[in-house]
Symmetry: C2
Subunit: 408 residues, 2 copies
C-alpha cells in the first residue's frame, strides 16, 4: 500500500480550538482493527434529551452501519445516546456478517454506556469487502466508556482518519434569545489508497436544544448546499454519513432560530471545504460559481459537470486558463445552455462572453489567476436566475500515485 505521508499543501496551519459542547464527551483507543500504532476507535456519549439528525449516502450499495443509522435516526430522544466509529475497515459489502457486526457492536456499546441499543449510532470507514473484526472494537468499549472527556474532540478527529493527511474541525458560537449556544464538528475524508473506499464521515455537536424534526430539516437543507456541493473525483462512497447531535445543555431552544441555522450552515460548509482541501493529490482549491441558469437545479448540473471534468481539473493542475474546456463541460452537462449567451470568468478576469472569447481577454491576466492556490471559475448562462456554487480540487499526478498503486 502506498504511504502518502505528506500533508496536503491546502491544509490549514493547525487544528482549530473547538469549544466544549455540554452534554457530549469523547474517548479514543487503539484497537488494532487494521492500523497499528494509532487510535482507530472513537466513542462519543450524549446526555439524555439529545436530538439527532443525519444524512447518509444514497449509494445503492451502502454499508451495513449506514443502513442501521438510517433506521435509528428520528427515534425518541428521552434516553442517552452514543456514537461509535472505527477506522481501517468499512464493513461494506460484507453481507449478513456485516449486519451481525453492527448489531454486536451496538449491543456492546449500549451495555458499556448504559443507553438503549436503538440510540447507538455506528460508522465504519476503511477497506471494503473484508470482514470487520468487531471483537477488537468490543474489547476496548468498557475502557472507553470509563474515561470519556468533554475536551477530547481533537483526539476524536484523529481517530476517525483513514488516509486523511490532517484532522478536520470547525466551530461556531451564536446568540439565540440573548444567550450563547455553541456548535463544534469534526470530519474525515477523502484520502483514498487502494483498496480503501472514499468515505466521508462528519459529526457535529451543539448544546442548543432543537426539536428533532427541526434539526433534521436544517441538516438536510444545509447538506444540499455544503457536503452535496463538493466533489474530489465524482466517485461516491458506500459509507458517507453526517450526524448532528443537539444536547440541549445550554437550555436554549434554537429550533426556530435563523441565526442558529446559519451558524450550523457555516460549520458544515467549513468542514466540507476542509474535505476538499484534503482531496487526493490536490494542489488547488477550486470554487465553481454558476449564475444565470434556467433554474437552481440546472445551475448545479452545470457546476458539477465543470467540477468533475478531468480535462478541466488537469488544466487547473497545469495552471492553464483553458476556458474552452469549460465551454465543453457546459455543453455536455445536459442542462439548458445557449452557446451564444454564455460568459465565463477565471477569478475577476472575463475570458469569454456571448459565445466567443471576451474582447477584454488577456491570456496573461488569466494565467496569473491560475498560478494561485484558490481558483474561481465563474459561468453565467444568461438564461435566468438559477445559481449554484460547488467546490472541488485539481487532478494531479498525486491522485494517480495514490490510487494506481498495487494493493498487494
Amino acid at each position: 500500500m502506498a504511504k502518502i505521508t505528506k500533508v496536503s499543501p491546502l491544509a490549514p496551519e493547525r487544528f482549530p480550538d473547538l469549544p466544549v459542547i455540554g452534554g457530549v464527551a469523547f474517548a479514543t483507543a487503539a484497537a488494532g482493527v487494521k492500523y497499528q500504532g494509532r487510535t482507530d476507535v472513537m466513542l462519543a456519549t450524549l446526555v439524555p434529551g439529545t436530538t439527532i439528525g443525519g444524512v447518509f449516502t444514497r449509494s445503492a450499495t451502502r454499508a451495513a452501519p449506514v443502513l442501521d443509522c438510517q433506521n435509528k435516526i428520528g427515534g425518541a430522544s428521552g434516553a442517552g445516546a452514543a456514537i461509535l466509529v472505527n477506522s481501517g475497515n468499512a464493513n461494506a459489502f460484507t453481507g449478513k456478517n456485516g449486519v451481525a457486526s453492527v448489531k454486536a457492536i451496538a449491543k456492546a456499546v449500549a451495555a458499556s454506556c448504559e443507553v438503549p441499543e436503538d440510540r447507538v449510532f455506528t460508522s465504519s470507514t476503511g477497506v471494503i469487502g473484508e470482514p470487520l473484526p468487531h471483537d477488537r472494537v468490543i474489547a476496548v468499549l468498557d475502557d472507553l466508556a470509563g474515561r470519556t472527556d468533554t475536551a477530547a474532540i481533537a483526539d476524536a478527529a484523529k481517530a476517525i482518519m483513514t488516509t486523511d493527511t490532517f484532522p478536520k474541525g470547525a466551530s461556531a458560537e451564536v446568540e439565540v434569545d440573548g444567550k450563547t449556544v455553541r456548535i463544534a464538528g469534526i470530519a474525515k475524508g477523502s484520502g483514498m489508497i487502494a483498496p480503501d473506499m472514499a468515505t466521508m464521515l462528519v459529526y457535529i455537536f451543539t448544546d442548543a436544544a432543537i426539536a428533532q424534526p427541526a434539526l433534521q430539516a436544517m441538516v438536510s437543507a444545509h447538506a444540499d448546499k455544503t457536503f452535496n456541493c463538493i466533489t474530489v473525483d465524482s466517485d461516491t462512497s458506500t459509507s458517507d454519513s453526517l450526524i448532528v447531535a443537539a444536547t440541549g445543555t445550554s437550555d436554549v431552544d434554537a429550533s426556530d432560530s435563523d441565526a442558529f441555522s446559519e451558524a450550523l450552515h457555516a460549520v458544515m460548509l467549513e468542514l466540507a471545504h476542509l474535505v476538499v482541501r484534503d482531496g487526493e493529490g490536490a494542489t488547488k482549491f477550486v470554487t465553481v460559481a454558476v449564475t444565470g441558469a434556467a433554474s437552481d437545479a440546472d445551475a448545479k448540473v452545470h457546476a458539477m459537470a465543470i467540477a468533475n471534468s478531468p480535462l478541466i481539473k488537469t488544466a487547473i493542475a497545469g495552471e492553464d486558463p483553458n476556458w474552452g474546456r469549460v465551454v465543453m463541460a457546459v455543453g455536455k452537462s445536459g442542462a439548458a445552455a445557449d452557446r451564444d449567451r454564455l460568459s465565463i470568468r477565471f477569478g475577476d478576469q472575463e475570458v469569454a462572453r456571448d459565445g466567443w472569447r471576451s474582447p477584454s481577454y488577456s491570456e496573461e491576466a488569466a494565467a496569473t489567476h491560475m498560478k494561485g492556490t484558490d481558483i474561481e471559475i465563474g459561468v453565467d448562462l444568461g438564461l435566468g436566475e438559477g445559481r449554484a456554487t460547488v467546490w472541488t480540487c485539481d487532478l494531479t499526478h498525486g491522485y494517480i500515485e495514490i490510487n494506481a498503486d498495487y494493493r498487494s
Copy 2:
C-alpha cells in the same frame, strides 16, 4: 504544447488495407491551418445518387460545422456531394464568424467540385475559440478537386488526425442478394493536448445503394451500441461527428439487408475500439459487460459509471483487481441495484457474489488477469434481463501529462 509522439501501446501493428469504394475519391493537402509539415485538409467527393446518414454530438455548445451538417443530413441525393475536413482548428465557440467560415468553405467546395452547396458537409477539429483561417482551406480546394483518387483513403485517415498517435481504419465486405458490397471507414480521436478539445470524427463509405431513411436508421441504431458506448474520460466534445455515405455504385440495394446492417455495425464497432485504443495515456483496453439489470438502459448506466470511475480506471492502471471500487460505482450510478444479488468477475475469475467476496476468490488469479493488456470487468445485477457492454481505457500519468501541460 506537449509533444506526445509515442504511438499508443494499444495501436494495431499497421493501418489495414481498405477496399476501394466505387463512387468516392479522396485528396489531401497541407494548408497550414495550424500544423506545419503535415496534411491538414481532406476532401472526399461522392457521386450523384449517394445517400448520407449521420449522427452528431448532443453538446449544447456544439460547433458551427456540426450545426450546418445537421441541417443538411437527409437532403435529396440526386446531385453529387462532398465532405471537407480540416484539422488544427475546431471552429467551435467562434460566434457569427464561425458560421461565416462554414458558409465560405461550403460555397468554395461547391464551386470547386461542382456540387450543390447544401450537399457539402464540413468538419473542423482542433483548438477551440480561435477564428478559423478559412482562406487557407479555400486556397487549396481547386488543387484538391483536380486530383482526387479513389485509392487515397489512408492519406485521408492521416489528414484528419490531431493528437492521435495512429491513423484509424476498418472495413467489411458482405454478400447482399448474391453480390458483394464493400464498407470502408476512417476515424480520428481522442488525442487531446491543451488547448485542444476532444474531437471524434468518423467517415464511413459503402458502394451499396441504401435509401436515406434506411441508412439513417441503421447509423443511429448502431451508433448507440458502438460510438455511444465508448468513453476515455467522460468529457464530451463540441464537434463529434459520424457520417456514413452510400454511393450505390455496386448496383446492390442493401436498404433492407440485415447482413449489410451487421457488417456496418462491425465496422463502426472496430473504429470505436480503435478510438479507445488511442485514448490519452491508455495502457489497457477495458471491456465492461453488465448483465442481469432491470433494463438495457439501467445496464448502460451501470456500465458507464464503472467505465468513467477515476478510482476504477486508476486501479486498472495499477493492475489492481480492486473489485470494491466496482461495488462503489454500481452503488453511485443511480440505476437499480441490490447489493446482496450483485456478482462481479474480472476476466473469467468470479471475485464477488451475492453481496460479498466470492467463495472461489483468488487474489492471485484476479491479479494475473489485470496484468494483461485487455481487461474485462463483468457485473451481473441479478435483477432482470437488461444488458450493455461499453469500452474504455485506464487512467494513467500519461493522461495527466498530456492534459496538464501549460498552453503557452
